[in-house]
Amino acid sequence: MKTTLKTGKQHFGTPLPGVGLSDLKGKLIVLEGADGSGRSTQIVMLKDWLENLGYGTVNVGLKRSTLVAEELEAAQQGNILSHTTRSLFYATDFADQFENNIIPALRAGFVVLADRYIYTLMARDIVRGADPAWVKSLYSIALVPDAVFYLRVSPQTLVERNFRKDDMLSYWESGMDIGLSRDMFESFMKYQRLIQAEFRRMEATYGFTVINGNRRPRAIHAELRAKVQEVLTQPK
């Protein structure tokens, strides 16, 4: 699956026209996990720590592209996207940020902190019935990250954290669009279990580092910090 280049970064099988990977000096660090898994908190803490050490950092995430973020949000609100269209819309959003933010930042030697990456996108598509081979090829244009940390949190804890944050469960994070249950709580629990099962399947293929996200933020941060430190000291 991975295409090995002589040195440095690799993509997942499909080269992008006009995008060279040979001079990417920075590091791509990915945090994956559900809403309420503590991703954003950890990214803020990592960014502070890295900048304190003098590393330039850039944050990227889903639905933040100049090209389609607004349109994607509007379409989501209207709830009018069919599955393949939704997948491709997200892939467009990803590709736009990938080529215009991630690659240039890596070329300039920055540490790129990705608040979710292709794995969430793939898991969501596959849970919705997309052909795994299709999804895999779609995202084979992406760069293999230097490290992927998956914050695993039990669905029960996720529910509690989501309620504490928003007083309600998100329609999409509950997978309400796929009709698992008309009861939102039940749908949320089922959907999160499906997503976690998909992540478990991907873990073997992609080599994630699984982090126990049920703990206090400081404890998680200490573990992440030690692991990121290792990535930073790897030869370029």
Binding site: T14, P15, L16, P17, G18, T66, L67, V68, E70, E71, A75, I80, L81, S82, H83, T84, T85, S87, L88, F89, A91, T92, A95, D96, E99, D131, A133, W134, S137, L138, S140, I141
Partner: protein, 226 residues
């Protein structure tokens, strides 16, 4: 990679260069079918309302790379496919498509996208029952487009590929490369090749005759009173 369908409807696609006359031909085919009281639906490349804003913005501000260009068009196609083409085929319509996935195969590959990746992108689409390719020599289709006083748009002219420093020259080279891709697909995709140099009405007579042979048209008439 793409599957044949077994739906009650029929799908007819037309392909060809800008200026090949394909849009005229598919329009006349549609008129003929409508006047015979058939269930017919017409869909056009790059026309989904949902994706239009993103595409327009990307094109206007030249934000698109070959990859995102490919992806926004695939998104547009998927939206039309999932919400119109597929349901209509299931409902027993004749669907006429002015450009289909082959347009993307040609353009995206000319733009340097990985052919296998592009093919996979569109692998959810069903193979048309008939795919007409309107073959006009490159100079002729160029002449039809450039003969007026053309306002070639940036991406339409392939300016993103740095083929030439003005739109007209770039357009010629770009169209030439797409034409070569179409020619390659004639056999691999089983295009029905139409001679785009014949008079419009002659071509249309041939198109109608071919469609009649391939599709049991009377069965697509509206039942009951209109």
């Amino acid at each position: 990679m793409n599957k044949k369908h077994h739906y009650p409807g029929r799908l007819i696609a037309v392909e060809g260069l800008d200026g090949s006359g394909k849009s005229t031909q598919v329009y006349l085919l549609k008129r003929w079918m409508e006047m015979q009281g058939m269930k017919v639906f017409f869909t056009e490349w790059n026309s989904s309302a949902l994706v239009k804003d993103a595409t327009r913005k990307g094109k206007k501000r030249q934000l698109l790379t070959p990859t995102t260009f490919s992806l926004v068009h695939a998104t547009d196609f998927a939206d039309r496919f999932e919400r119109q083409i597929l349901p209509l085929l299931r409902a027993g319509y004749i669907v006429l498509a002015d450009r289909y996935m082959y347009t993307a195969f040609g353009r995206d590959i000319v733009r340097g996208c990985d052919p296998r990746w592009v093919r996979n992108l569109y692998s959810f689409a069903v193979v048309p029952d008939i795919a007409f390719f309107f073959d006009t020599p490159l100079e002729v289709s160029l002449g039809r487009i450039l003969g007026g006083r053309p306002q070639l748009k940036y991406f339409e002219a392939g300016m993103d590929l740095n083929l030439a420093d003005n739109e007209v020259d770039s357009f010629k080279i770009f169209q030439g490369r797409i034409y070569a891709e179409y020619k390659k697909m004639v056999d691999t995709e089983g295009f029905v090749v139409m001679d785009g140099m014949l008079p419009v009405e002659k071509q249309q007579a041939m198109v109608r005759k071919y469609v009649e042979q391939q599709i049991d048209l009377p069965s697509f008439r509206w039942k009951g009173k209109q």
